[in-house]
Symmetry: C2
Subunit: 388 residues, 2 copies
DNA sequence: GATATTTAGTCCACAACGTAGACTAATTGG
DNA sequence: CCAATTAGTCTACGTTGTGGACTAAATATC
């Protein structure tokens, strides 16, 4: 597990420590860095010199006038150098994002496509084109893309990069990672997990929360102390199949009364009473117009979500619950019911019931999280990029 | 979060690395240690010398004849030196265990008392007496007790050591830690969590599992990659209040249809049909005698447990499920139903459904886990014990 | 406006720790 | 009895962080 610590590992960790502080606090003088890290000024100076040389950090040049004494030179993360690629395959779109080391989004590409009717290979080929052209442009702008990550709507085997089962896409056992070769280190992860990480790094959220991704399926990403909880095999967070009512409607997972059957996109739209398929935006319009069927559908979905979340809170104890995906436009009509249900089921037991808030990131959250994850790895181990 | 790494931290980590390998593999020569840790023979020799001097490790004296060449001197964890105290307060007993660094149990004290009818202060005073006499005896045997931990049946605020709410005992906001002063570092934790850790260190179990503690309440401890998952505030694992049926019988937590209402000890005993209170052993006798009411009660409890566990598996993805507490004697009569329910609700979705096994540790599990946790800390950071 | 004070950052001698390889010790195989 | 082999120690050395002296650049005070 833990490896032997030699001098190089010591340096690598201190380098990461300094870079992390710079990343977290925005902009600091060497003296301030020495203070917050507990290292001496000498050591910080050496480490910062290395980081500047590698292009991870830059001096702002501007000196800061504080109280008295010689002003320091602040350093900050250098955005113009290293960047990462974030990719997302979803039911009705493909998204590509390029994010730099300072976590600024440098490039956005979204393409609306119906991926349900296409073959996995074709979908991936299309994404590949989109990604390569984005990489070209980014490289043209002087960025160095060090890696990428791909978000897919369903459980993924992290090791092999095989998408187990993405029911919304109709995918089963698709080896995405080997099909999508971009000539750079890549990995694949569940969309809900990456959207949760996006909330962590790009939202103004807390460091402990449960992100609920409402799409056709309902997934969740749990972030504890700023890092993702994946469970033993990486398949944690399947909130959509938490039991709401044990004898409820049968679910495609084989169970009955799963949350997805009450609050999944299909269930929501179906229960508006309109025959055939009604789009999400139509649903939003109707509920805004106080259409009784739509309002009832929202209330029931909110209740079911509250029930499932009460189980979840009891099991994993999140600090906050962030609703994303389809629940974002519907939040005004379900948020209160979710909170009430949670309150009535947990209020007596818990000192405080986790607040239910809405995500402020759009649908592209997962792609952002994907890129962010790669950036996070660089910040966690900058030594990997140093010239040996 | 991560601290600056100086020379002393480097040494501390390597010391821990060596000690961990010795602890995990039983007995190793310095040469073998050099191989498994990746450190050089020189460094390992120095580290082992320090560990021997501190009394954490000892040479077996016996040399091992392998194949050819000079035989090595094996070292192993020294059991005769450092030990830890494990304490447990439960509804009907107090337990004290002394465990040494090699994880051998050196002393067992259990006292049957009805703690429900006593005041918290009195219970703690009684436990204190029991603990002090155990410490005396252990010290008399040459052991050095470096700390202790206490298991209580209910959620605990780890920081302050206040037991929030232990409904089985009728406790609310009891500052256990400050009441129980034993003149050594102590901490308090949830009984289910510590029982789970006992399973990890004293059972022959895997490193990823969910331990289910069936008592009057039902708790769970989740162990992922050999360490405990506590959630954001340390209140994770409240399996007893996971929803089985949203409109089921009201629960003391304020919700309805919680697992505890179907599979908690009270529910199990109540539903045997016998009026009044029937002891657990009576229940076991009846179900062994195929008493219809008892058999039905077990089946229903097993079903409810299966439903709640299917939600749990979807959320936290454990590798294995270990049933403990009252479920141990009842396992032959509920195990199959739990497995079937899980299988039917998860089988289509998951490649493999986590096996449901029974704990082989007795009721004293939590006390063992408490002591084990202290031992684990010593092994994880032996440098804390070195003479500065 | 000159000087004292304060803070930032660098320089240098030093200490702590792990490494590499020579060296000694102890065993087996021929 | 000697060669081969493996365990463990010893010594010179390299890497890295430290502490304090030193230089640099600002403000406060008179």
């Amino acid at each position: 597990m833990t490896q032997a610590v030699r001098h190089d590992a010591m340096r690598a960790r201190n380098l990461a420590l300094v870079l992390r502080e710079v990343s977290a606090r925005g902009s600091l003088t060497r003296a301030a860095l020495a203070e917050v890290t507990g290292l001496t000024k000498t050591t910080v100076s050496k480490l910062v010199a290395d980081l500047i040389e590698t292009g991870l950090v830059e001096e702002t040049g501007v000196v800061r006038g504080g109280e008295r004494g010689r002003p320091g030179v602040e350093v900050r993360i250098r955005g113009a150098g290293i960047a990462a690629l974030g990719l997302e395959i979803n039911v009705d779109y493909l998204a590509v994002r390029v994010v730099d080391l300072s976590r600024s989004v440098r490039l956005r590409r979204t393409q609306a496509v119906d991926n349900r009717s296409a073959q996995p290979v074709d979908v991936i080929a299309r994404l590949r084109d989109l990604a390569l052209s984005a990489v070209d442009e980014a490289v043209g702008n002087g960025l160095r893309i060090v890696g990428g990550a791909l978000a897919v709507p369903g459980p993924v085997d992290l090791g092999s990069g095989v998408v187990h089962n993405a029911p919304n896409l109709g995918w089963r056992d698709v080896p995405v990672l080997s099909l999508l070769d971009l000539g750079m280190p890549l990995h694949v992860e569940n969309e809900a997990n990456l959207a949760a990480l996006a909330e962590l790094w790009f939202g103004a959220g807390p460091t402990d929360f449960l992100y609920v991704s409402g799409e056709i399926g309902i997934g969740a990403g749990l972030v504890v102390a700023g890092s993702l909880f994946r469970g033993a095999r990486g398949f944690a967070g399947e909130l959509g199949h938490v039991v709401v009512s044990p004898d409820g409607p049968p679910c495609r997972c084989g169970g009955r009364g799963c949350l997805e059957q009450y609050a999944g996109q299909d269930a929501l739209l179906r229960s508006t009473g309109a025959a055939g398929s009604v789009g999400l935006m139509t649903m939003v319009t109707r509920v805004e117009a106080q259409d009784p069927a739509a309002v009832t559908a929202c209330r029931e979905a909110g209740w079911a979500l509250g029930v499932a979340l009460s189980s979840t809170v009891n099991l994993v104890d999140p600090d906050t619950i962030v609703l994303g995906g389809v629940f974002v436009p519907l939040f005004p009509y379900i948020g209160a019911v979710v909170t009430e249900t949670l309150q009535s089921r947990l209020g007596q037991m818990r000192v405080s019931v986790p607040p239910v808030v809405v995500s402020r990131l759009g649908f592209e959250a997962a792609a952002l999280g994907a890129a962010g994850q790669v950036i996070e790895r660089v910040i966690a181990d900058p030594a990997a990029l140093l010239p040996s």
